[in-house]
Symmetry: C2
Subunit: 214 residues, 2 copies
DNA sequence: CGGTTAGTTGACCGACGTCAAATTAAGTGG
DNA sequence: CCACTTAATTTGACGTCGGTCAACTAACCG
């Protein structure tokens, strides 16, 4: 029974479903490995069925920006030109359904697929724009609050697991690890969230968190 | 003789060319008007044939982020869902070729058009990612230097015209108008650029500008 | 040529970054 | 299951870049 559909693929469901239909090849990666590298040729699209992935871009002097985090149901490596502009690494053990980019790029002859791919691309852009807004115009507190909110919304359980470490959070939010840490502590002092260990927390007051995330 | 092709449409040329082919309707807007508004329905795509446009997003408390600037040859309002997520305003008198979104969205039946639209979408995403990197991980000086470089690269002449004011630059770069101003003055003191009036400048030392833009 | 608007400059401040030390949680072998 | 080890995170002290507020000045417009 436990096919890929039964476990609630949400965010990019239609595209993922169709990738499966296109006979994606199942592939697994352990935690902490590179799936593809910045400036490498982009031949494959990865439909993530379990685990979590980050995409990163590194400046010449070592400053790092995380482009996005991906979870079950997301397509990775779709929205790119002939070369990848980000690297992608697993944050945990992952399983993918892998297909050739060429087989799903526009005018595949399958109009349903075309629309699904277009939609996936659109959402990728939308997420990037939302992220942009946050980096440009919000305080550390707003960023962290919003981030925790988003992660919590991913999980349906009250106890939330962060798949990434503080450095990843920092590089995603355009902050330092210390600022992230301090801000999390602050939110905890306000009894808005409660951390159990480093990677687990619980939202105590949603309304307050939402207000801060504004 | 002066058809739309003769004036060097660069950035999104293929898509623009095809929009023309699709019998876009010519339309003009004066300087400083809204083309479409955030949360409005997105029915039309605007191919910009002359002038300049900015897209903006405003937070509830008035903070503003500029998503992008668009110039001759760019498509505006393409990469969006059913509703616009940004407003678009003219920075100068503009002329557009306007087509229905529905007539160019994927699986139009014209494979050349499909690829061109896909490509335009991809580039929009790419530009957004580049912008993101800058907001997340660079200093005011790097941002301003890069910005001036990019604008200068648009124009092929030595004397460069900024189509936007300082506030627009600031809201694009995630800075305040004062910081932009100070940074520009600084670059001028270093004899890297020279301003003649507020909206015209000349790059004096490209190598130095490039190094700062890192 | 004066008025108006946009931009610049200065003084000061606060949020976030930096560097270093302390702490905690996750492993690991006994 | 517990002490020990190690790496990740937190906390503290302090510095700096960019923001804020206000006064000043330069470009553009009739």
């Amino acid at each position: 029974m436990a096919n890929v559909f039964s476990i609630g693929i949400e965010r990019n469901s239609p595209a993922m479903a169709l990738v499966v239909k296109q006979l994606g090849v199942r592939k697994t990666f352990p935690k902490g490995v590179e799936i593809f590298r910045q400036d490498e040729e982009a031949d494959l699209v990865y439909g993530l069925t379990s685990g979590a992935v980050r995409t990163t871009r590194v400046l010449s002097d070592g400053r790092r920006q995380i482009g996005n985090f991906y979870y079950r149901g997301d397509l990775i490596g779709l929205a790119t030109g002939p070369l990848h502009r980000f690297s992608a690494e697993t944050l945990a053990d992952c399983t993918f359904l892998v297909v050739k980019r060429s087989s799903i790029l526009p005018h595949s002859g399958d109009s349903e697929l075309d629309s699904a791919i277009w939609e996936a691309m659109r959402r990728e852009l939308e997420r990037t724009q939302e992220h942009l807004l946050f980096l440009g115009r919000t305080s550390a507190c707003e960023r962290v609050a919003k981030f925790l909110m988003n992660v919590a919304l991913q999980n349906s359980t009250a106890r939330v697991t962060l798949p990434m470490n503080r450095q990843d959070m920092a590089d995603y939010l355009g902050l330092t690890i210390e600022t992230v840490s301090r801000t999390v502590s602050h939110l905890q002092a306000l009894e808005i969230v409660e951390f159990m260990g480093w990677r687990h927390f619980r939202v105590m007051r949603w309304d307050a968190l939402e207000r801060l995330a504004a």
